[in-house]
Amino acid sequence: MNAEITTSGRLFIHQHAAHCESGVTSALFRDQGVEVSEAMVFGIGSGIFFGHFPFIKWVGMPITTFRSRPRTLFPKVAKRLGGEFFTKEYRNTQKGMAALRKALSDDHIVGLTTNIYWLSYFPNRFRFQFNGHNIIVLREIENGFRISDPILDHPVDCSTEDLERARFARGPLEPKGFMYWAETVVENPDFRRACLEGIKESCYMMLRVPFPFVGIKGNEISGEKHYQKSGQAWFSGSLPASGQCGADAGRGRHGRRGI
């Protein structure tokens, strides 16, 4: 049902995923013949995290995140599972788009970092200024590109103009046209070692980072302390923010907005 073909006619199976970056990473590995699920990638890349930052405001509400920072998961997974990856940022829009077209004609499926606001195939309320959404471009079509977005359960079309804006959006955590694909991967990676490394790092981030606001310390701040200080204000203030985090993009995207 969700089978798609790439430029040279290779088969690509679109898979629905809960998070975009882990979904894209697992799709890149699967395309190279290493079967690894999204959940596995999420664990190996230490995707889980908690942070509550009352001093960083987004539309007047403090930021709560429950995923690691965008663009940290893919490098970690790449390192722990092994393989060669092409990664590059572009400053110039024309050069960036030309490089994307060239990569597609060389029969790669290309991962891109984009700003979700400008991707108009999303429902309105999913869209907000967030520069860390990852998608896979499968091939070029007339006036646009065929895109496998792991958040949606089917591949979509995206116009060239939208994609250009999304790739070169400005603001916090600029994507700068970031583009990546797998050249080669290790055929039988050592999953045990990779998992252990992932788990160790997650434990460190959640329990022992010597900085407040992250991990269990962030949990305390966002819940109890915040509540004691401001009484009912917790509900009127931070719930909509984290709610929108959770709801809008939640398990998908929004949660890892923030640091």
């Binding site: 429902p123 200024q129 709801a247």
Partner: protein, 141 residues
């Protein structure tokens, strides 16, 4: 959560899209289940969206009353802040903030207006005006 317990409340703002949820199947293994949304999610999301929409409406009235320039309205409707707008349009934050004053905005050079229009993906005519009536609830584009 079991596969059958995944909320399928068909909430409107998904516009027919589905989101992946992990749930346990009959064999006790986690599988991906497409969900059409959870009604509580719609409520909480509605709170945040209503707040933004109310703010945007307030800005629109201020523009009509001549307190702020249309640029400010369009920036907010694109969910940007002055920093993002400044970087996108290539105009310094200081100048962007200055252009929020209606008198100064009215005298802007066409080249500046063009870079704002490009940054906000609007035409220059759209940039100079605000919509006559309020945008629909939660409809932010």
């Amino acid at each position: 959560m079991k596969v059958k317990e995944v909320p399928q409340d068909d909430i409107t703002f998904y516009e027919g899209e589905k989101r992946a949820c992990y749930a346990l199947n009959d064999e006790g293994k986690y599988v991906i289940v497409p969900s059409t949304g959870w009604e509580y999610e719609a409520v909480v999301n509605g709170l945040a969206v209503d707040e933004l929409a109310a703010h945007l409406e307030k800005t629109r009235k201020e523009v009509l009353a001549g307190i702020r320039s249309p640029l400010y309205y369009h920036m907010e409707s694109r969910q940007m802040n002055p920093q993002i707008l400044a970087k996108t349009s290539g105009i310094s934050v200081f100048r962007v903030k200055r252009h929020f004053r209606p008198g100064i905005f009215a005298r802007l050079k066409p080249s500046l207006l063009a870079s704002y229009a490009k940054a906000l993906a609007l035409s220059v005519e759209e940039l100079k005006t605000v919509p006559g009536k309020s945008a629909g609830k939660g409809n932010d584009t």
